[in-house]
Symmetry: C2
Subunit: 449 residues, 2 copies
């Protein structure tokens, strides 16, 4: 559907039918317009088409564009156009833009902002990365306790144009301290003369500017919020996080966890827009670390060279043993890491998880060992001791793998490391080493070389 | 904070201060009350405390409880109480509840519903699992084109009580066909006498009841929606998905992908609430499949027994080679699978991704092979051919792994399999087998046995 729409737009441009183009753009969703400018237009055409957008649309489209295209548009703007964009952007979008732009362009943008906007932007730029402060915006609706419902609705009608969300209003007391919350639904469902103090909820769920943005996103999902107030250490309201930004945070954090668990440095941008060198750089670090750790595993094998030379058959069970251990461990690690990310598991659950994983490992391990034993007895008749060695090793490896997989992410969290980084690849390497030591020692004990 | 609150509540129960308990509960957030009932109370106390909740709170608390606790409450309810709960629940929550309850309890619940509610619930129960229809609710605000802004606000004030969200209103034409959308913000910011037809947006983003719920969730994140209309094949509005439910879908789908990529059958419930047997059942299937495939890899090694017996040193590089291949492959697979889940990558990008992965693999592979070569030359002086064998094998394995890892998830999607299931463990097994064949054949060619 969008593609057909885009073709029509490109047709207008080709035939220089700018009037039709302008009308078609004005009728589209801002997100689609941004996609059109970004993906369908060559760099030199982007500013031309952007200038055709209706004024009330420009800032919304701008905030949906990537850093490169924003930079391209800023470079092509006059000072007056630039000032218009900056003033019309929500503060959080302006801050996102400035964080991506080169320093000289940032300077030019700030020069064209009003002093009030400039000071607000500067304040927002200082919140630490990944904090609630770094994803909040300043455009919220604030009410006073002594207002009536009619006053409040009137206030929203007068000031709502600039507000990112009008649906949750925050009631502020002296020195802008957050005292209560009231939704527009509450306002509409109460009679005009009721006082805000009587209908507001004074049990406000909020975060502090320095809290983790992930913690803020979790509150959205737990309490089904549309927006979340962000206060400073003195409980004064400084901003709000809106649900669309919370959704972005959730998706970004999940993507980061996927990447870390697959032994990659998280990427800043979508796969198709990331260059080959950046992708390689993000991947090489952990591959090197894990390769070197696997060499240690290899070193363990060297210690058993004599056993291998006498009985090369033992080697053929190594992939099965290490793969099973790795898979069993990363199953446990994945459940625990995801559970912690969703706030379902806390570090105090350590022993509970260890106990659970050991029991699961016993069930799973006995089944896998049994299948192995039967298969080996059938394919290598007369080699009962080999079958026993392999089966016992599988059982012990699975128990070890699940215990390590369940516990290591929690220990990482306790030591303030990122649990996701401790995940599958590292666990696989640890389990590999121990599995081989177990295997060859059992072999030495059970089989006469 | 919550824990202290819960302690106070438990104190009230112990000292039979039911008046204080009731007042404290009424003042709490519904989500916290549900958590208190679920996690702090023994089964027999749950119905007692639930009955103390103010009427307007009961249904909201009920919808936040787990299936078991809901069943417990339903069993303890009189018919009158039950009818009250069913009528007060939003349809989507009622359907969620019924899908978890045993058949005889479902019967009793439906018997106590009004005919209108019963027929609505029955209709909703029929939407396929994981469809947009299965997560929508029926309580939306609908307007007519010929209403004025004042009419519309008045309509919301009269009917809003039952509506899950009042902030996005849908404008319906003849036979309830969806013709436009108008937000409460638009209503408040326009003058009372304007007609809805003039301020509504007729370019409505919507899904069909049978569309995938993941597709619906993607639209929320792309267009920053608060609710999404769901229409039938004749474009008639039948329900809406609200953003809080979309957030749940996103988290569930991400969790499912994490589990599938770690070779597990997705679990229905949080880790700590899942029993040991269910966990073992979810994990054993793939472990068995992968163990058997790893046996095939082992079979390949048996073919090289002679080589191994002559030169056991070769064995000690196997873990490094297969681990590196597995890690390189799952890096690529993870990026592609996540990209597809977020809608950033489509099946038509197959060749683009293959070309990108091969180039990344060349960069990464040459670096890893180089490190290996230098390390082997230093630790095994005079064994240049072993060093060369291992290094070339690493390079070829990384290229193969990244090509397979990038392409396999897309091929899975084209064949209508779940890409996440094709992920790391299966790719690891495939790459393992090929890596060993490459390795020993190069060894045979370069090293005289």
């Amino acid at each position: 559907m969008e593609e057909r729409k885009f073709e029509t737009l490109l047709g207008f441009i080709e035939q220089k039918q700018y009037h039709q183009l302008r009308a078609a753009l004005a009728d589209m969703n801002e997100v689609d317009v941004a996609q059109f400018i970004e993906e369908e237009l060559p760099e030199e055409k982007q500013p031309v088409v952007f200038r055709m957008l209706p004024k009330e649309m420009a800032a919304d489209v701008f905030s949906e564009l990537s850093g490169e295209v924003q930079e391209n548009l800023v470079m092509a703007s006059t000072d007056k156009e630039l000032s218009f964009i900056v003033e019309d952007l929500y503060v959080d979008d302006a801050v996102d833009m400035l964080e991506e732009l080169p320093a000289n362009v940032v300077k030019r943008v700030l020069k064209n902002a009003t002093p009030a906007t400039r000071s607000l932007i500067n304040q927002f730029l200082q919140y630490p990365e990944n904090s609630a402060g770094s994803v909040m915006t300043a455009e919220f609706t604030d009410l006073r306790k002594d207002m009536t419902v009619a006053d409040a609705i009137d206030h929203i009608r007068r000031t709502g144009e600039d507000r990112e969300t009008v649906y949750t209003c925050y009631v502020l007391g002296e020195r802008r301290v957050l005292e209560g919350v009231v939704s527009v639904k509450d306002l509409l469902l109460n009679s005009d003369d009721r006082r805000i103090a009587d209908i507001m909820d004074d049990d406000v769920i909020s975060v502090v500017t320095t809290d983790d943005r992930e913690e803020a996103a979790r509150l959205f999902s737990k309490y089904n919020l549309l927006s979340l107030p962000v206060v400073d250490k003195e409980k004064r309201l400084v901003g709000i996080v809106t649900v669309d930004d919370a959704v972005d945070v959730m998706e970004e954090e999940a993507t980061e966890d996927f990447e870390k668990m697959a032994a990659m440095h998280p990427s800043e941008r979508p796969y198709l827009k990331t260059g080959v060198f950046t992708l390689a750089k993000n991947r090489i670090g952990w591959l090197l670390v894990l390769m070197i750790s696997a060499m240690i595993t290899g070193g363990i094998l060297e210690g058993f060279e004599a056993a291998i030379a006498t009985m090369p058959l033992l080697v053929s069970f190594i992939p099965m043993l290490t793969d099973t251990g790795g898979n069993a461990g990363s199953q446990s690690a994945t459940m625990v890491i995801r559970g912690m990310a969703l706030g379902e598991i806390s570090t105090s659950d350590l022993l509970r998880i260890l106990w659970k994983e050991v029991r699961v490992a016993l069930l799973v391990g006995v089944a896998l060992a049994g299948v192995n034993y039967i298969r080996l007895i059938l394919t290598y008749p007369g080699q009962e001791m080999v079958a026993l060695t392999v089966s016992i090793s599988v059982l012990l490896t699975v128990i070890l793998a699940k215990a390590v997989g369940g516990v290591l992410p929690i220990l990482a969290k306790i030591c303030h490391f990122d649990p996701a980084i401790m995940a599958s690849p590292l666990i696989t390497t640890i389990v590999d080493a121990f599995a081989l030591v177990i295997y060859f020692n059992i072999a030495k004990a059970l089989i006469a070389f």
